[in-house]
């Protein structure tokens, strides 16, 4: 098969893969009537921002957006905790280290679908259901990300850390002024992964948020589905609101994202 033919085939496949996204954005700008006409139009006959305005004016998507951003911000704390844990496991020898790290690895194979019922009961018993911290907590720390940090940090030379200690730096100082700067490559990868996971997360907000004021974009969007026969442009505007920021992040940080996903393939 010649390279040209292969290129044409792959290009066609890429278009098919990307088409639902193109369709989403195009429909989101259509006036309601046009989205239900036959035959469907690919390019809107007139660009209408009405659906986006409705999301924020008539529906609570402004609140959902803020809640989603809040969950992502809380996840940054998780990122810091995971960095610290990775450093602790990589660079210190301590009692129980083997058992503790073994437990960390063990949690890698326990998905949210297994723990959703008991986790809801645990959060309920401490009064954290229907709160934003409650939504973020179950996925705040990922065993796999701790593992990645540890793998990276074992490569930091001990001499470097020891000489800083001899110069009188405290342990926190060693961490913030030597370990963190050296770890920038892995931090960048993990920050992007954390953002994507937090932004897209669906199961925990669905279970933990009971009131509309606590919904994230994913939950608000899933409930819009009940209106499917009513208003496709509104739904596609909601979907675009969720997908377009991720596409922008993806375009900017593609290299980091691909590296992160590749590492997930090596675990």
């Amino acid at each position: 098969m010649s390279k040209k033919l292969l290129g044409v085939l792959l290009g066609a496949g890429a278009l098919v893969t990307a088409f639902p996204f193109i369709w989403m954005v195009s429909t989101s700008f259509k006036p309601l009537g046009e989205s239900r006409t036959y035959p469907p139009t690919v390019v809107p006959s007139r660009f209408s921002l009405e659906s986006y305005i409705r999301l924020f004016r008539d529906l609570d998507f402004g609140t959902y957006l803020l809640n989603t951003v809040a969950v992502v911000v809380i996840n940054v704390i998780g990122l810091l905790l995971m960095t610290m844990a990775g450093y602790g496991f990589a660079k210190f020898r301590f009692r129980w280290r083997g058992i503790m790290f073994g437990l960390v690895l063990a949690t890698m194979m326990i998905p949210a679908q297994v723990t959703m019922i008991p986790t809801y009961l645990i959060l309920n018993s401490v009064g954290l259901t229907n709160t934003l911290p409650g939504i973020a907590l179950p996925a705040l720390v990922s065993a796999f990300q701790i593992f990645l940090f540890r793998q990276f940090m074992t490569t930091i030379p001990d001499d470097l850390l020891d000489s800083a200690r001899i110069d009188g730096a405290g342990e926190m100082r060693v961490f913030t002024s030597i370990v963190l700067p050296i770890s920038r490559p892995i931090l960048a990868v993990q920050a992007v992964l954390t953002f994507i996971a937090g932004w897209n997360s669906f199961l925990w907000p669905l279970i933990i948020a009971n009131d509309q004021e606590k919904y994230t974009l994913a939950v608000g969007l899933a409930l819009l589905n009940r209106q499917l026969s009513v208003n496709p442009p509104l739904q596609m505007a909601g979907a675009s609101l969720m997908v377009v920021p991720i596409i922008i992040v993806f375009v900017i940080f593609q290299r980091h994202i691909v590296r992160g996903f590749t590492m997930s393939g090596m675990k």
Partner: protein, 294 residues
């Protein structure tokens, strides 16, 4: 590695994250195991006095619930349909994308990766619109070539395939990334040497690329398999598990028992069974990896 006793320092670094993992990774399994032996429901949440120990009754009822078996059958069907298609398509695309390092080929990669990073809820919504019986694009395309409309999401057998197709479309992206990366580790000399011996492109793919990718292929097979056991968002958004349970996966079944019917004890028993299944699959993977290493 430092040998001197480090005192409390390492615990300060490790504990916060470790406690989180214990609280939301290990503790839930213990809680599920205990709750699965009780009749905990929504009234029990308000008044613990109403909670009673019921032994293995929940497990017995689970075994007698046809909906539980249907969700297991659906999950098995999704695995049997989905895994070979996902692996086949991702492998073909990954090998094809690796045939040229030109700018065009590299730019194409982004398109294939895109579904892997976008929210499943949004994706399911888009497909729900494409599948719409009255004004969806798919039925329009069928009509233009003279075929009858299809009830993509309301006819039980068709709905299974429609829901699975969305997940297949999404899952190939991640696997293409992994299989592309794995190909970078194959030494170029193998291809050069075989070209001198007169091997064509197809021969190289089947005699060099695929055999050397066998471990990566095995890995993506297992992760894809486990992914299907966690299958939740697509059926939740597209069909709510319907029509009449035709697209209810095991995860969706657990969710419905727990949060629609508030039968936490019963749902915990189902969670534990899912845990055992995933544990068994993971153990097989670890075992196979060990055998491959030896």
């Amino acid at each position: 590695m430092r040998n001197r006793a480090a005192g409390v320092t390492p615990y300060v670094f490790v504990s916060p994250a470790f406690v989180c993992l214990l609280a939301f990774g290990i503790l839930p399994i213990v809680v599920a195991a205990i709750v699965s032996l009780t009749n905990l429901d929504v009234s029990g949440l308000g008044d613990w006095g109403k909670v009673e120990f019921v032994g293995l009754d929940n497990y017995r009822d689970l075994m007698r619930d046809p909906a539980f078996w249907e969700s297991l059958r659906n999950t098995a069907l999704f695995v049997v349909m989905g895994v070979p298609v996902i692996i086949g398509v991702s492998l073909a695309v990954a090998i094809a994308l690796n045939q040229s390092q030109s700018l065009f080929f590299r730019a194409l990669r982004a398109f294939y990766f895109l579904p892997a990073v976008t929210a499943i809820v949004a994706i399911a919504l888009i497909w729900g619109y494409l599948y719409n019986t009255q004004f969806g694009l798919l039925n329009y395309l069928l009509e233009t070539v003279g075929l009858p409309r299809v009830s993509w999401l309301t006819e039980p057998t068709v709905a299974k395939f429609s829901v699975a197709l969305v997940a297949i479309w999404r899952a190939t992206g991640l696997n293409i990334i992994i299989l592309l990366a794995a190909q970078q580790d194959i030494p170029k000399e193998y291809y050069e040497a075989s070209a001198i011996d007169g091997a064509g492109k197809w021969r190289q793919v089947f005699s060099i690329t695929i055999p050397l990718l066998r471990f990566a292929i095995f890995f993506v097979t297992v992760t894809t398999l486990i992914g299907w056991m966690q299958f939740f968002d697509e059926p939740y958004v597209l069909t709510q598990g319907g029509p009449s349970g035709a697209t209810t996966s095991i995860s969706l079944y657990i969710y419905q028992q727990g949060f629609r019917f508030n039968e936490f004890g019963f749902a915990s028993a189902a969670s534990l069974i899912l845990f055992v299944i995933i544990f068994a699959v993971t153990a097989l993977q670890v075992r196979a990896r060990r055998n491959a290493d030896e």
